[in-house]
């Protein structure tokens, strides 16, 4: 191969001691408190779900790395992140076998298919979730209330379904616990189908009552702040997402306060905060140009609110991020910065090399393993 002798990039020419592995490890660290809180909310079922989904991701990753069809190593922690995030987006009582399916699909279809770490077009965790959303629409909409008594000793019955079998009905189980079946609806579903809006402080901390929600948005924001402060994540994307979602929701709220909920509810319900901080910021699937990040984030925020309001689904973060992932190469192309010294009129005709954003670590620096190409010679020897 003819490797270029000199690599020319735009400033800053800083050598950072950051590798893919370091970044990924810190992301995992920052996810641990969130997972702990999730287990605290839902007990042993949530723990089992996290373990099974992550194990499925790791085993699938190992299979594809071993067969040489995918770049990367198991020790780069990226599959762990995929597994943890995927588990956090699934309902706590999601059947373990379905969780395993989601984990396998996430890595196989979301990552290995494109060549492994750094090559994936879509966020793998969301690919896995989208698959099970389409495959098991009933199970994925079945939430159970948090902070149930005895949650550390007893599984949610739907968790322990036999593989390929329908999970047990949680409504009957809740009734036995003297809880309304509707208590299991998420705040977004309650708003969409019943027009009930949850209180602000409950949403922010997820602590009070038996609300069926994911981990507290406030906690996720704190963990995200840590990542942003250590420059393991670009702060522009979450800010752009939340800003654009808030603006869209506020405009609609000002237009018709009866029909549309307040912007605060839109921001802190559902998975918007988790998606904004952890999923949309996936380095391989988001634009690297600073301007592009703003466009990308704004697109996600807008789409999320639009999907929540106008589609049949109560939650729209997942599809919004997947659509924006697909759009990010285009966003990158149209937001190429002008090289220093060139006027705006005299734009580069051809695409320059990507300018390096401080948060973005290229694959060369990460000493990532390139995929072993095992193509056959074009014509078999006669």
């Amino acid at each position: 191969m003819n490797q270029p002798l000199i690599e020319i990039r735009s400033a800053p020419h800083v050598q950072a001691a950051k590798t893919v592995e370091t970044i990924m490890r810190h992301v995992v660290y920052s996810l641990l408190p969130i997972c702990a809180f999730y287990v605290f909310q839902y007990g042993i079922s949530a723990l089992a779900s996290i373990v099974v989904v992550t194990a499925a991701c790791l085993l699938t990753e190992r299979f594809f790395v071993r067969t040489g069809t995918q770049a990367g190593r198991l020790s780069d922690y990226s599959a762990v992140i995929t597994g943890l995030l995927l588990a956090l987006t699934l309902p706590p009582g999601f059947s373990l076998w379905m969780g395993a399916v989601a984990g396998i699909v996430a890595i196989a279809l979301g990552k290995a298919l494109f060549g492994g770490i750094g090559f994936n077009v879509f966020n793998p965790a969301l690919v896995g979730r989208a698959f099970v959303q389409a495959a098991f629409p009933t199970a994925i909409a079945t939430y159970t209330p948090s902070f149930l008594a005895g949650r550390f000793t007893e599984f949610i019955p739907s968790s322990l379904a036999w593989p390929l079998m329908i999970p047990a009905d949680t409504a009957a189980w809740l009734k036995a616990k003297n809880l309304d079946a509707l208590a299991g609806a998420t705040p977004l579903a309650k708003w969409k189908f019943d027009g009930v809006i949850a209180n602000a402080d409950e949403l922010l901390t997820s602590l009070s009552g038996h609300m069926a929600v994911g981990p507290a948005p406030a906690l996720i924001l704190i963990c995200g702040l840590y990542l942003a402060a250590r420059r393991f994540m670009d702060w522009r994307i979450p800010l752009a997402i939340l800003g654009s979602a808030a603006l869209t929701a506020w405009l609609l709220f000002a237009f018709d306060p009866v029909r549309y909920p307040n912007p605060f509810f839109m921001l802190f319900s559902g998975g918007l905060i988790l998606g904004a901080v952890y999923m949309a910021t996936d380095m391989a699937t988001s634009p690297v140009t600073p301007k592009g990040m703003w466009v990308y984030g704004a697109l996600i925020g807008l789409l999320t609110v639009v999907i929540r309001y106008y589609s049949g689904l109560p939650e729209g973060v997942m599809y919004a991020i997947l659509i924006a992932n697909a759009a990010s190469p285009l966003i990158e192309k149209i937001t190429q910065p002008v090289p220093f010294g060139r006027g705006a009129l005299d734009r580069a005709r051809k695409r320059a090399t990507y300018p390096l954003n401080p948060g973005y670590i290229s694959r060369e620096e990460a000493s990532a393993v390139t995929p072993k190409k095992r193509f056959l010679p074009k014509k078999p020897k006669k």
């Binding site: 279809l109 495959a135 098991f136 629409p137 379904a161 329908i166 056959l376 078999p380 020897k381």
Partner: protein, 212 residues
């Protein structure tokens, strides 16, 4: 392979295996993805296409000497459309439920490129007998392709095979498998399997000749 194998058998097997319309030539994708939600639908669609293929290739081949090249496509299309109409009536007479399940895709056999391709590439240049055998091979290959998709999608999407329950009452259907994306996933899986097999065979062949 032995050269002694009868020509007709080779002619037939070409469409079934070597030039399989679904897995090798990737032709006729529209019905392949649309109607294969169950094994019964898949096999009916395959048989309908098979009948149209054999009949129209036979007729095209019989008329090949009197068909001027300027109007050949028009002739082929008229012939194909005729047999599609006949098959359409036949399916209505056999079962209306099946007719509803296959929907517009019966009529759309007219534009299935496998059939026009066979008529143009083979039937127009060969006598009726080999033309029909070749067409039958293609049709059988197409049916096998559809059936491969239909079986997987029915087992996962409904827990049944040819309508027979496989896993008992508690089976959780994978709804995605009966939706259009499921068709793409299953087709992709089969293509992966076949190309992997073909590569292994190729590699064995290359390695073998290197040693020789």
């Amino acid at each position: 392979m032995s050269a002694a194998a009868p020509q007709t058998w080779d002619e037939f097997m070409e469409g079934v295996w070597k030039q399989n319309p679904t897995f090798v030539m990737i032709l006729g994708m529209c019905p392949t993805l649309a109607v294969t939600v169950s094994a019964v639908n898949a096999i009916s669609m395959g048989l309908a296409t098979l009948l149209v293929l054999i009949a129209s290739c036979g007729l095209v081949s019989m008329m090949r000497k009197v068909t001027p090249k300027e109007v050949r496509i028009a002739v082929y299309i008229v012939i194909i459309a005729t047999f599609v109409t006949a098959v359409d009536y036949a399916i209505q007479a056999i079962s209306l439920a099946l007719y509803d399940a296959l929907g517009a895709f019966i009529q759309l056999i007219v534009v299935n490129c496998i059939i026009l391709g066979r008529a143009e590439a083979h039937a127009a240049k060969n006598p009726p007998m080999p033309a029909m055998i070749n067409a039958a091979g293609m049709g059988v290959g197409f049916t096998i392709g559809l059936l491969a998709l239909g079986v997987v999608r029915e087992i996962l999407g409904a827990g049944t095979l040819f309508g027979i329950t496989l896993f008992g009452a508690g089976f959780q259907p994978w709804v995605i498998m009966v939706l259009p994306p499921g068709g793409f996933f299953v087709l992709g899986g089969w293509l992966l399997l076949f190309s992997w097999m073909a590569r292994r065979k190729q590699r064995a062949l290359t390695v073998g000749s290197d040693h020789a």
